[in-house]
C-alpha cells in the first residue's frame, strides 16, 4: 500500500523504511523518520520510547499528526493479529507489485508466511 500510494502521488520513496531504516523513511515522506520511530515504539510496546518518540513527533509535527499516527499504529497492532490468528493467506501472490515488495523486504522470513506459502 505504501508503494501504491507513492505511485499515485508520483513520489519517490524507499520501502526499506518498513524494515526500520530511518534514512529511507525521510525520502518523500514528511516527518518520515519521526513517524517511523513512533510507530516502532508503539509496536514494540516500549513505554519509555513511546513517550520520547511521541514528544519528538509532537514538537515537529503537532498534536493532530500525533493523534492520527497513534490511531494508525493502534489499528495495525490489531490487523496483524486478525490476519495471523485466522491464518489468512495473501489474496494474490501473482501480482508483480506484490512480488517485488515481498522480495525487496524479505517478507518470507516471517513465521506467518506459512499461512500463504505452505
Amino acid at each position: 500500500m505504501l508503494r501504491a500510494s507513492a505511485k499515485t502521488n508520483q513520489t519517490e520513496i524507499d520501502l526499506q523504511s518498513i524494515r526500520g531504516s530511518a534514512n529511507s523513511a525521510t525520502k518523500g515522506i514528511e516527518f518520515g523518520s519521526l513517524l517511523l520511530r513512533f510507530a516502532e515504539s508503539v509496536a514494540r510496546r516500549d513505554t519509555v520510547t513511546i513517550a520520547a518518540s511521541r514528544n519528538a513527533l509532537l514538537e515537529s509535527a503537532g498534536p493532530l499528526v500525533v493523534v492520527d499516527a497513534a490511531g494508525v499504529a493502534a489499528n495495525f497492532q490489531r490487523m496483524v493479529r486478525i490476519a495471523d490468528s485466522i491464518g489468512i493467506p495473501v489474496d494474490d501472490m501473482n501480482t508483480e507489485l506484490g512480488q517485488q515488495v515481498r522480495a525487496e523486504l524479505k517478507l518470507e522470513e516471517f513465521a506467518s508466511a506459512q499461512n500463504t506459502l505452505s
Binding site: 500500500m1 505504501l2 501504491a4 500510494s5 499515485t8 502521488n9 513520489t11 520513496i13 523504511s17 518498513i18 524494515r19 526500520g20 523513511a25 518523500g28 515522506i29 514528511e30 518520515g32 513517524l35 513512533f38 510507530a39 516502532e40 508503539v42 509496536a43 514494540r44 510496546r45 513511546i50 511521541r54 498534536p63 493532530l64 499528526v65 493523534v67 492520527d68 499516527a69 497513534a70 490511531g71 494508525v72 499504529a73 493502534a74 489499528n75 495495525f76 497492532q77 490489531r78 490487523m79 496483524v80 493479529r81 486478525i82 490476519a83 495471523d84 490468528s85 485466522i86 491464518g87 489468512i88 493467506p89 495473501v90 518470507e108 516471517f110 513465521a111 506467518s112 499461512n115 500463504t116
Partner: protein, 251 residues
C-alpha cells in the same frame, strides 16, 4: 460517566474516534453470538492480563509454543468465567499470534472452543487491544471496562460459508447477502475482510473502529489525501507497514 471522554486529553482527538470506541464498549458488554456479556468483558480483561503474563513471555521465547505446560497470569476478576482454552487463546492472540496454526484451532474446536466462539474471541481481543494501544500510544490511562449486560447468546451463524481460506469458515465474496449484505458494500472483498465473518458482528466492529483509527473501506480505495486527516496516505501506510513488519505479518 461517559466512556472515552477525551475532554481533558492533552491532544485534540477527532470526535469520530471516541464515538467508535463508545459504540464498541456498549456492544462489548452485551451478549454476542457465542459469549455472554460477562464472558465478553472477561475476554477484554484477559486481553489486558496477557501483556503481563510470565508464562506467555516464557513460551514466546521457546522454539515451539506448543506441547508445554504452564499457567497463565489471569485477570483476577475473570478467573472462573472463562475456560482455560479461552484464556489461552486470548493470550496467544496478544502475545504470539504469528505461531497460531490450523492444528491449534482445530484441536481447540474438538475440546470445546468452537470455531465460532474462537472467531468472536479474536474479534473482541483485537478490538480491545487496539483501543488500549491507542491510549498507550498517547500516554492516556486505559478506559474502565463496561459492566456486563445479562442475556442469552444468539448462536448466530451465517448461511453462506466456505472453507477456502484460513483456519475457520468464512463468508465468500458472493455470500454477503441477506443479513450480511452490508459487509462489503462495494461488492469487493479481501481475505482480511473475510477473516472474521463467521461472526459477522466481529467484522462490523472491526470496520467501525478501523474507520476511525485508519480508514473506512471506501477511503482505502483513495490513495490521496483524505479530508479531516493530518497524515497523507504515504505517511499512513509507512506507519502501517512498519507496525506490521515488527509484528512479522506476512499478509
Amino acid at each position: 460517566m461517559i466512556a472515552f471522554d477525551y475532554g481533558k486529553a492533552p491532544y485534540p482527538i477527532r470526535p469520530d474516534i471516541p464515538a467508535a470506541y463508545q459504540a464498541f464498549w456498549q456492544r462489548l458488554a452485551r451478549p454476542g453470538s457465542w459469549w455472554t456479556g460477562e464472558q465478553r468483558v472477561a475476554i477484554a480483561a484477559e486481553t489486558r492480563a496477557a501483556l503481563d503474563c510470565n508464562w506467555c513471555a516464557s513460551r514466546k521465547a521457546a522454539l515451539s509454543p506448543y506441547g508445554q505446560e504452564g499457567e497463565h497470569t489471569q485477570y483476577a476478576q475473570a478467573t472462573g468465567v472463562l475456560s482455560d482454552l479461552a484464556v489461552d487463546a486470548v493470550h496467544r492472540v496478544i502475545t504470539d499470534q504469528s505461531r497460531i496454526t490450523q492444528h491449534y484451532v482445530n484441536d481447540n474446536a474438538e475440546r470445546g472452543l468452537s470455531k465460532g466462539a474462537y472467531v468472536e474471541l479474536v474479534g473482541l481481543v483485537v478490538a480491545v487491544f487496539s483501543i488500549d494501544e491507542f491510549h498507550r500510544a498517547l500516554g492516556l490511562g486505559l478506559e474502565d471496562l463496561p459492566q456486563p449486560i445479562a442475556g442469552a447468546v444468539s448462536e448466530y451463524r451465517p448461511q453462506h460459508l466456505s472453507e477456502d481460506v484460513g483456519f475457520v469458515p468464512t463468508i465468500p465474496l458472493e455470500g454477503a447477502v441477506g443479513p450480511e449484505a452490508d459487509l462489503w458494500p462495494s461488492g469487493r472483498t479481501a481475505n482480511v475482510m473475510r477473516a472474521l465473518t463467521l461472526v459477522p458482528d466481529a467484522l462490523r466492529d472491526w470496520a467501525h473502529i478501523g474507520s476511525a483509527q485508519y480508514l473506512s473501506f471506501q477511503q482505502m480505495q483513495n490513495m490521496g489525501q483524505e479530508d479531516g486527516r493530518a497524515l497523507n496516505r504515504m505517511q499512513i501506510e509507512m506507519i502501517a507497514g512498519r507496525v506490521s513488519a515488527i509484528n512479522e505479518c506476512f499478509y
